[in-house]
């Protein structure tokens, strides 16, 4: 018994060195050679950092493409989903309210064209993407607010669609931050 206790303590120290110092230091070393040096890829506009590519931002103004609802208000100091069950009356009322608000803001859109992801909150609360359909249906509103032609905006959305992985696997998506940065540069 005693030998097992002392062996256990010594082996624990050895493995702490291997798993918690050598291994992470090695990964950290490799990270240094990635473009962001492991600090996360940022997006810059005119030399100023406006965000992280992977972290979604809150876009509530009508002149921008809006992202999905977020349970944490897109504050990446934390993260979280709504954790509401599918039959929760309070939750269903909030989805209904999101649909109604969207229809008021986008009178040109038919109710049956609103994609479900645009009125439901993501798991992380930081979802950086929307589907191409969710971007397209916002085009008429933005065209009106900004005075840019709808065709031009549709082309802009099309440019920003990231297709399935290797063209085969998974959904298509649009990064909302990058789309809105390009939008700011479109005249």
């Amino acid at each position: 018994m005693k030998t097992h206790v002392f062996s256990a303590i010594r082996l624990t120290v050895v493995l702490l060195v291997v798993c918690c110092i050598v291994y992470p230091a090695f990964i950290w070393g490799i990270a240094y050679f990635t473009p962001s040096h492991g600090k996360g890829d940022t997006v810059e506009v005119n030399g100023k950092t406006v965000g992280y590519t992977l972290i979604g931002q809150s876009f509530t103004q009508d002149k921008y493409f809006n992202g999905r609802p977020s349970a944490v208000g897109y504050n990446a100091a934390g993260s979280g989903g709504s954790n509401k069950g599918p039959t929760n009356p309070e939750y269903l009322a909030s989805v209904q309210a999101a649909i109604d608000t969207f229809l008021i803001k986008n009178p040109a859109v038919k109710r049956a064209d609103i994609p479900a992801e645009l009125v439901t909150a993501s798991g992380s609360g930081l979802d950086p993407d929307i589907s191409p359909e969710a971007a397209d249906i916002q085009v008429p509103r933005i065209a009106k607010v900004r005075g840019i032609s709808e065709d031009k905006l549709k082309a802009l959305v099309a440019q920003h669609i990231q297709g399935p992985l290797f063209g085969l696997f998974g959904p298509s998506k649009v990064n909302v931050l990058q789309l809105n940065i390009s939008l700011d540069h479109t005249k």
């Binding site: 492991g38 921008y64 100091a77 709504s82 599918p86 269903l92 359909e133 998974g170």
Partner: protein, 573 residues
């Protein structure tokens, strides 16, 4: 949608194809044959010398268990101490506080037993020192503990009579050096190339395009996430686990994380076949596991792709499926696949919020944990399956009037008693815990410090779903899974302590039981197979095992599932 389904199918096939050669490799590692990582042998010898361990000395089952439990207890003390003083330790750029004793107890146990239930949030609850020095450490060693226990059991299944079942330390250290560390490095590099952060800097403050000021949590994520999955641990670096864009940046990393968590549980089944030279047995086990897994998966994908009928009713476009709690870059199909994979094996990482899945999807997730051996956790999945095999052998033996035998060893009263106790332990822990908490929630009991307020404050949803939240929590604890219906407010002494106790019992007894059975069987006389032997590697026997699993899970859990997810499902129409 069809590209999403193709993604799921490709992920599954690729995992199985990789698991077969990996299983062969693992069998070689444990039998001491030559492998391409033999250049690590001097390092391993050095580790053993420093620790004063003779890794070549074979031990009996009792001493192997003693070694396992002793070192686990050392880790528990270490983890408790660090968690309770982390606020004063270095590598804490966000100045997160030390944990309260009850939260530290829950967290230390949770990571020690490979469960990774988290009653804290990574961004605010732990320092980088804790993430790497305690939690990631336990992810390595708890996974290796499970594999080492399995190696002892497989060793006992050989055709011979012995009480020498190998050396726990030898299996344990080699699992880390030969399997977990090399794979973690490969996976980490893929993650780094896809933009996962690996930094010691704290939160960054940015002004967004729209002019809001927000903070962005970062950290040494790319070192943490590989072992989180390879070790079927599942504890997230961030609060929302692999739904967080930094913890799972894109569809490719999603596939890699799915493969990383299921690769070793599948490979261990093949390793068993190669090691014992009983491929048909491995194929039987793998087939039963796969059929069970696919039944749950296909049903769940269909439910999630179809979407929430109560939202369909509002007249919007549902073609992306049930997206509440899911990320656009993954979509509904692979999120559904993930939710079942992570619950049948004991990972418990999530890429979507299980609380917001359709009621019957939630039921399937719980069934995955209630059965807990369709692939199952690192090592322990097969140990659980072993218990069901023993029961199936006994029942079939009685049915056809033959002495129950498994791999040439007679199954007698003592082994059966252990097997039945272990099989009943799981429902016992889950149902007693749920009954207790439901009582408090229904009576809205207030109990001061114990509840930090009233019991009604626990649940983010009322009615059937609220019951499911509590049932899920104990199921996840007992199965050492660690995922949750995260709407449950579980950071209070009641949940921290009761779930902690359930986790300990749900981990160590299901390891002690099978090791004891295997140890007792190994000492018995080996009876060569004859025409009268019950064949245990046939499809018929596989069906028998499936039947035993189904009956135990269905009989024990159906009433509680009827009160929760099934009732909620019917309330939708």
């Amino acid at each position: 949608m069809h590209t999403e389904i193709i993604g799921v199918v490709a992920t599954f096939i690729a995992t199985v194809l990789l698991a077969i050669p990996l299983g062969k490799y693992i069998a070689k590692v444990f039998s001491g044959e030559r492998t391409m990582l033999d250049f690590l042998a001097p390092a391993e010898r050095f580790f053993f010398r420093v620790s004063g361990i003779d890794a070549t000395r074979e031990m009996d089952w009792k001493e192997n268990l003693l070694a396992l439990l002793t070192i686990n207890f050392v880790w528990f003390l270490y983890a408790m101490v660090i968690l309770m003083v982390q606020g004063s330790l270095p590598l804490n750029p966000d100045h997160n506080p030390s944990m309260s004793p009850d939260l530290a107890f829950n967290t230390a146990i949770s990571f020690l037993v490979n469960c990774n239930l988290q009653d804290y949030s990574g961004e605010t609850g732990v320092s980088y020192f804790t993430q790497i020095g305690v939690l990631m450490f336990l992810q390595f060693v708890s996974a290796a503990t499970g594999v080492a226990a399995l190696a002892v059991v497989i060793n006992a299944m050989k055709e011979r009579t012995t009480d020498k079942l190998g050396n726990f330390y030898n299996y344990f250290v080699k699992t880390i050096t030969r399997i977990l560390l090399p794979l973690s490095v490969i996976v980490a590099v893929i993650f780094l190339l896809n933009g996962m952060p690996m930094t010691w800097e704290g939160k960054d403050t940015i002004t967004t395009l729209q002019g809001d000021t927000v903070q962005v949590s970062r950290g040494p994520v790319a070192a943490f996430v590989p072992i989180k999955h390879l070790g079927t641990n599942g504890g997230g670096f961030f609060g929302v686990n692999s739904a967080h864009p930094f913890e799972n940046p894109n569809y490719l990393t999603c596939i890699i994380e799915l493969m990383a968590q299921s690769l070793l549980p599948m490979a261990l089944v093949f390793a068993l076949g190669y090691y014992l030279k009983r491929r048909k047995l491995a194929v039987m086990i793998f087939s039963v596991m796969t059929i069970g897994f696919l039944l749950l998966t296909i049903a769940t994908i269909m439910l999630e792709v179809k979407g929430n009928p109560m939202i369909t009713h509002m007249g919007i476009d549902m073609h992306s499926g049930a997206m509440e709690g899911k990320e656009v870059r993954f979509g509904a199909a692979i999120s559904a696949y993930w939710s079942i994979l992570t619950t049948v094996i004991s990972t418990g990482s999530v890429n979507a919020m299980h609380d917001s899945f359709m009621p019957l999807s939630g039921m399937n997730q719980m069934l995955g944990m209630m059965v807990n051996c369709f692939y199952g956790g690192k090592g322990v999945g097969i140990l659980n399956f072993y218990i069901f095999i023993i029961i199936a052998v006994f029942i079939s033996g009685l049915m056809v009037g033959r002495t129950p035998e498994f791999l040439g060893k007679k199954i007698e009263a003592r082994e059966m008693k252990i097997a039945i106790l272990i099989a009943l332990l799981h429902p016992f822990l889950i149902l007693v815990g749920t009954a207790l908490s439901s009582y408090f929630a229904a009576h809205d009991t207030a109990m001061g410090w114990w509840f930090r307020g009233k019991a009604s404050g626990w649940l983010s949803n009322g009615g059937y779903h609220g019951f499911s939240q509590m049932l899920y929590q104990y199921t996840s604890s007992s199965a050492n899974n660690g995922s949750g219906f995260e709407g449950l407010s579980d950071n209070n002494p009641f949940w921290n302590i009761t779930a902690g106790i359930v986790m300990i019992l749900g981990r160590y007894l299901p390891i002690i039981g099978p090791v004891a059975i295997a140890g007792i069987l190994a000492k018995k006389k080996y009876i060569p197979e004859s025409a009268g032997t019950l064949q245990t590697d046939t499809a018929t026997f596989g069906l028998m095992v499936f039947g035993v699993i189904f009956i135990i899970a269905a009989l024990a859990f159906f009433p509680s599932l009827a009160l929760g997810p099934i009732a909620e499902h019917f309330s939708m129409y």
